[in-house]
Symmetry: C2
């Protein structure tokens, strides 16, 4: 049995940018990645708001804020954490800045109605496949879909106990992202398949919302036998 997280990547020198990083998911990931030793740049349409958000997170010097454009330019690896509504537009606008880089897509196209959460239909199959279409010169990897923002932001929570499913068509890129995920205590990056199988991973977030409601939990996944 191969240890899923033992990909041999030395990743701690990476600068990680987070597009749409002032939302709950973006802030939570920024906080945990900075705590794990990465240099993190929170991106926002409003650079001042990004800087304020970075400061409000306790502001280790490795955590700063910038415009989305600058975050994309200055980072080695970039996480797309904007709302689904802004996903296509912002990535298309930043295609030049993101060229040659790994783009981690954690966006979940999910809707809510009175019966709870449900998966939205995505013409390209998934948010990650949409990203790959508008970013032909980037390596798109799907990951971090199921991480509870509440847990990421909770100062009482030391470990986030779950596996991060990492999807993509390039082995070096998925290995890199798995190694990044595995730097956060409790998390483990596990390869989860090709990008064409990312739609169901994004949609699964609707099930986790249902589970959270039924069991009053912050549910995540572990993969057994890996």
């Amino acid at each position: 049995m191969t240890a899923a997280h033992d990909t041999g990547n030395d990743v701690t020198d990476l600068v990680i940018g987070i597009l749409g990083g002032t939302g709950d998911q973006g802030r939570g990931l920024a906080r945990r990645l900075a705590m794990a030793g990465f240099t993190v740049i929170i991106g926002s349409r409003d650079a001042a708001r990004a800087a304020t958000t970075a400061g409000a997170l306790g502001g280790p010097p490795s955590l700063s804020g910038a415009s989305n454009e600058e975050a994309a330019q200055r980072s080695d690896v970039v996480i797309a954490a904007m709302p689904w509504e802004g996903h296509c537009g912002l990535l298309t606008a930043l295609a030049g800045e993101l060229a040659g880089k790994v783009l981690i897509d954690c966006v979940n196209p999910i809707g809510f109605d009175k019966r709870g959460a449900f998966a939205l239909q995505v013409a390209e199959g998934s948010a990650a496949q949409q990203a790959a279409l508008v970013l032909p010169d980037s390596q798109v990897v799907g990951a971090f879909h199921h991480v509870s923002a509440t847990l990421l932001l909770d100062p009482e929570v030391d470990r986030i106990e779950l596996d991060v499913l990492v999807l993509g068509d390039n082995r070096a890129a998925t290995d890199l992202v798995a190694a990044i995920a595995s730097r956060i205590p409790g998390m483990r990056g596990v390869y989860g398949g090709r990008l064409r199988n990312c739609g169901q991973i994004e949609a699964l977030t609707a099930n986790l919302v249902s589970i959270n409601r039924r069991y009053k939990a912050h549910a995540g996944l572990r993969i057994t036998d890996v």
Copy 2:
């Protein structure tokens, strides 16, 4: 935190039929459910073949074979485990026998090509939703999608360590199926959402196939914090 499997259902007196029960998944579930104390009827187009299959599984007296029709008639709860290609036709034909019963759908509409497994498009959204459409007088529950047939059939494996996600729109039916799943050592039935969110659970089987190939594993899911 509510114990996911503690639904208070006394289920051991149930007779469970398995349509298409001579396939690997059906045989594996039949074996484990019989070992867990249920009376199990393996169904097949060919009743003699079903009887042979039941005998080859070691044949506890609680495990027998019959035609699909008879298995549906004589059972309290029925599992649909036929190949996806035969799913709609067989369930439509048995709508009368299945009326008033809980139908557990574990069918995964999955295709394979040289790049591996992928989710098939299903017009109704999922196999389980298709079942609900053709069985308006049954309670359809999606469950047992991710259980490895190899593990179910392995005489060296005492416990199947995974959570069975149970999806449906009727609370009594999903509680019943969760209780059935929780009777198998190592397994735990966990409510996983409404039937409209079953497509991604079925499709996730393609990801598990990819994980199994990458890590040489028989991967399953555990839900954390539940």
